[in-house]
């Protein structure tokens, strides 16, 4: 197995390539320019209608806007759950999933759409302030530049939160903003109980689109239950990786053709808390479509595992990474994820009983942590073991499948 460092030195510059399958909404106007400044933004998107809480909630209910950070929690439910008293809006732009780029692409290229949505939600719940949480200084700088362009953003500030995979979890972000460590909390209390409404950057950009289109035009694309578009970050063994805006329910085959992927061995959907799937071109990219296939859309990461790489070796690299990304707070995660990674290494080495041990440890960590990291890691590894049964047998018989590990599943692009 090719040895690769978990976190290679300086992060590579972010590839901000983005395009739409069908008519762009979030990405409108970006065909011609790298970044929409305020004048460009207004020329492309037009004025935004003001809103009060009731109108916003009715729009969100009709359009069924669910969070785009991975959990898919309805934004309207968060607004309703806000405790009385002063409210604070947090835009989660930390995007900790290694292969996800869509939130940073939005903040870098069309930041005013995200700010429009955040300010509209802030106004509707009379929030005191808006904080944009990001993971790096370059993203913070571009958001600050956008704030400086506007006359209505004096209550918006930007904060850089340093941390790994689990630091982007909602309660970890809120904890870091309050001066604590960027770690999930032991109690599973939602931030709204403390007056904090945290939403993913894309979710708020969708709000800006929704307020301009109204719920009925918003629902002219997508599926009946999941109207509108969504951003997916496509990578792995593809000719043209990028962030793509698709109508909900777009078949996988159309996306694979758009990124120039020839006959994948497998695909990973939902990132490293998501799952492995056969590359069925009919698979519908929506939350419901992925649920039908036993998976999750998560934050929209779609990765192609090519035929020329050792799929189980790819799994092993990610299993090692998942173990290393444990925050180290919860026993079952601290001990269980390394055990799971050793199981997968045993699969690569073709040891007997490695499959049973892998599935057993995946069950052992599921649901037993302060955050969903062990659950997600278990889901990811379990789905791979089920999909890659024939591959595991080849390793069992010959100790190898004869292919190198090419690193189609990226790690640590932060």
């Amino acid at each position: 197995m090719t040895a690769l460092a978990h976190r290679p030195g300086p992060p590579p510059a972010l590839d901000t390539t983005a395009w739409a399958v069908g008519a762009p909404r979030l990405l409108a106007g970006l065909e011609r320019v790298q970044r929409l400044d305020l004048a460009g933004h207004r020329a492309v998107h037009g004025p935004i209608r003001g809103t009060d809480r009731d109108l916003l909630l009715s729009h969100l209910d009709v359009a069924g806007v669910a969070g785009r950070g991975g959990a898919g929690f309805p934004l309207a439910a968060k607004i309703r759950a806000l405790a009385g008293g002063p409210a604070h809006i947090v835009v989660n732009g930390t995007e900790s999933e290694p292969a996800s780029r869509k939130d940073r692409v939005l903040l870098l290229r069309t930041p005013h759409l995200v700010l429009d949505g955040a300010l509209a939600v802030a106004a509707s719940v009379r929030a005191r302030d808006v904080t944009v949480a990001v993971h790096s200084e370059d993203i913070a700088a571009t958001v600050r530049a956008a704030i400086a362009e506007r006359s209505d953003a004096h209550r918006v500030s930007v904060r850089v939160i340093v941390g790994g995979f689990v630091s982007g979890e909602a309660r970890a972000v809120v904890r870091a903003l309050r001066g604590g460590p960027a770690l999930p909390t032991g109690r599973r209390t939602p931030p709204t109980a403390d007056g904090v409404l945290l939403a993913n950057a894309e979710t708020l950009a969708q709000v800006a689109v929704l307020l301009r289109l109204g719920p009925y035009r918003f629902a002219e694309t997508g599926t009946r239950d999941e109207p509108g578009t969504t951003l997916i970050s496509v990578g792995g063994a593809v000719g043209r990786p990028g962030v793509i805006e698709i109508p909900f329910g777009t078949p996988l085959g159309i996306v694979l053709a758009a990124v120039g992927s020839a006959e994948p061995q497998a695909i990973v959907v939902g990132g490293y808390h998501g799952g492995w799937h056969a590359p069925n071109p009919q698979l519908r990219l929506s939350r419901a479509g992925l649920a039908t296939a036993g998976g999750t859309l998560g934050a929209g990461v779609v990765l192609v595992v090519g035929r020329d790489t050792c799929a189980i070796g790819e799994l092993a690299r990610v299993a090692d990474w998942l173990a290393a990304e444990s925050a180290g707070q919860c026993g079952p995660c601290v001990f269980g994820l390394p055990a799971l990674a050793r199981d997968v290494a045993a699969l690569v080495a073709g040891r007997r009983r490695a499959v049973a041990s892998t599935l057993g440890h995946a069950r052992a960590v599921d649901g037993r942590g302060a955050c969903a990291h062990p659950d997600g890691a278990a889901r990811f590894v379990t789905s791979a073991v089920h999909l890659l049964r024939d591959e595991a047998n080849r390793h069992l018989k010959a100790r190898s499948c004869g292919r190198p590990v090419l690193g189609h599943l990226p790690l640590g692009t932060r």
């Binding site: 032991g186 026993g331 079952p332």
Partner: protein
Amino acid sequence: MTTVRGDARIEIDWTRCDGHGLCHALLPARIGRDEWGFPIIWKPTVTTAETAEVRRAVAACPALALRLDSTQIR
């Protein structure tokens, strides 16, 4: 296991639990241990009649990780 209204639930704060094992010792029918010594809750719901014995285990946890949660938000 159906949750009857009014039932409480055993919760573990995993950031506090160090796997001392007192909960398992006091409630062996309800709480097991995994291969690393951390608790596995077989039966999380607690009826009113069972509250007293569970409270004793909660009080015995040296890490203050075991909780009896009576708010039914799940």
